[in-house]
């Protein structure tokens, strides 16, 4: 069976409530797809996503694997940080990339500052399916 990656642009979630965002992402994940979300959720929303995931775990849905690539650590310039926060306030947090997949499909996501590796579950062998370099900082 093939692996489906679904890109969700930030414009698709920016007008939604926190609950709406979480529902939208979880609905895609429950279709056994891997979500590539432009930008990221807030910290509160991330915690709420984990809570909601736990509430919905059953014999078929085992939970999620989640990783966020965000270029904040690479930017030490105070002016650029303030500028970025201002842009985030106006336009939402579009920087970075959130990867979200069902635990039944994604075995593990390994992340370090320079790369992200996504391992899928395969009954015969664990294979590395994707390796992605982080988004460049444009701020």
């Amino acid at each position: 069976m093939g692996l489906t990656l679904q890109f969700v642009p930030y414009v698709e979630i920016e007008t939604l409530s926190s609950l709406g965002r979480i529902r939208k992402l979880l609905n895609v994940v429950k279709e056994e797809k891997i979500v590539l979300l432009e930008g990221r959720l807030t910290k509160d929303e991330e915690a709420e996503l984990i809570k909601t995931t736990m509430e919905e775990i059953n014999s078929d849905f085992k939970g999620i694997e989640l990783a966020v690539i965000y270029p904040e650590g690479q930017n030490n310039d105070l002016f650029k940080k303030v500028k970025q926060q201002f842009i985030n306030m106006l336009l939402g947090d579009r920087q970075g990339l959130t990867i979200l997949g069902p635990a039944s499909v994604v075995k593990e996501i390994k992340k370090d500052p320079n790369k992200i590796q996504l391992f899928t579950t395969d009954p015969k062998s664990k294979r590395k399916s994707r390796s992605k370099e982080p988004c460049p900082t444009n701020a």
Partner: protein, 211 residues
């Protein structure tokens, strides 16, 4: 709206003023099997002479919030009195089949998974009740997991002081430097909660965090 803001501000100010002095709650948070309960047991044994909860190699041994009240840590002339809250490990996935691989029956495994999911929810709900949080990370594991980042990010967003503990430094695979590299903004203390290694430094840092 303005009146509500002022009311909330006054309520929170008083809550902080009194709650921190009279009922300081220190939570122990982290991913499963990082050694949270082992550290809680170490603290309770050191200052109460009794343990807090059971530990196991199987994940999600702690599935309910556990509280020990009236712990007083002494350091020279200083005393720190608090309630210690040991929380279930936070995870993004729980598969009952993993428990079966560790020797549980299907019924036991499903029950444990059900209780574990409730435990994660409770841990997150309790975040707002904490005055200080000790985040316990397994120093033999990859520190960049999103659970670690989400826990620490949520504490920072709530302005809750954090003491970051790199546990299991007695093990050969321990890499405390990778935790330091992952969370450079935090002062990290490496300990072995099981063996008691460096626990004195841990208490010193706890005093510093508690102010």
């Amino acid at each position: 709206m303005m009146i509500n803001f002022v009311k909330n501000f006054i309520r929170n100010a008083f809550k902080d003023l009194f709650s921190k002095r009279k009922d300081l709650k220190i939570g122990i948070y982290g991913p499963p099997n990082g050694g949270k309960t082992t550290l809680a047991n170490r603290i309770c044994m050191d200052w109460l002479g009794e343990e807090m909860g059971s530990v196991s190699n199987i994940e999600h041994e702690t599935r309910e919030i556990q509280i020990k009240e009236k712990i007083t840590v002494k350091k020279g002339n200083n005393e720190l009195a608090f309630s210690l809250v040991d929380t279930p490990g936070i995870a993004t996935k729980i598969d009952y089949e993993d428990f079966m691989k560790k020797g549980m029956t299907e019924v036991e495994a499903k029950q444990r998974a059900k209780e574990a999911t409730r435990g994660v929810i409770d841990s997150i709900k309790w975040l707002d009740n904490m005055n200080i949080v000790i985040v316990v990370l397994d120093s033999t594991k990859d520190p960049y997991s999103q659970v670690n980042i989400t826990i620490i990010g949520n504490l920072a967003a709530r302005d809750i002081p954090v003491l970051l503990v790199a546990n299991k430094i007695d093990l050969k695979k321990s890499k405390i430097n990778s935790i330091k590299a992952a969370f450079p903004q935090y002062d990290i203390v490496g300990i072995s909660a099981k063996k008691g290694t460096n626990v004195e430094e841990f208490y010193e840092k706890l005093f510093v965090i508690a102010g």
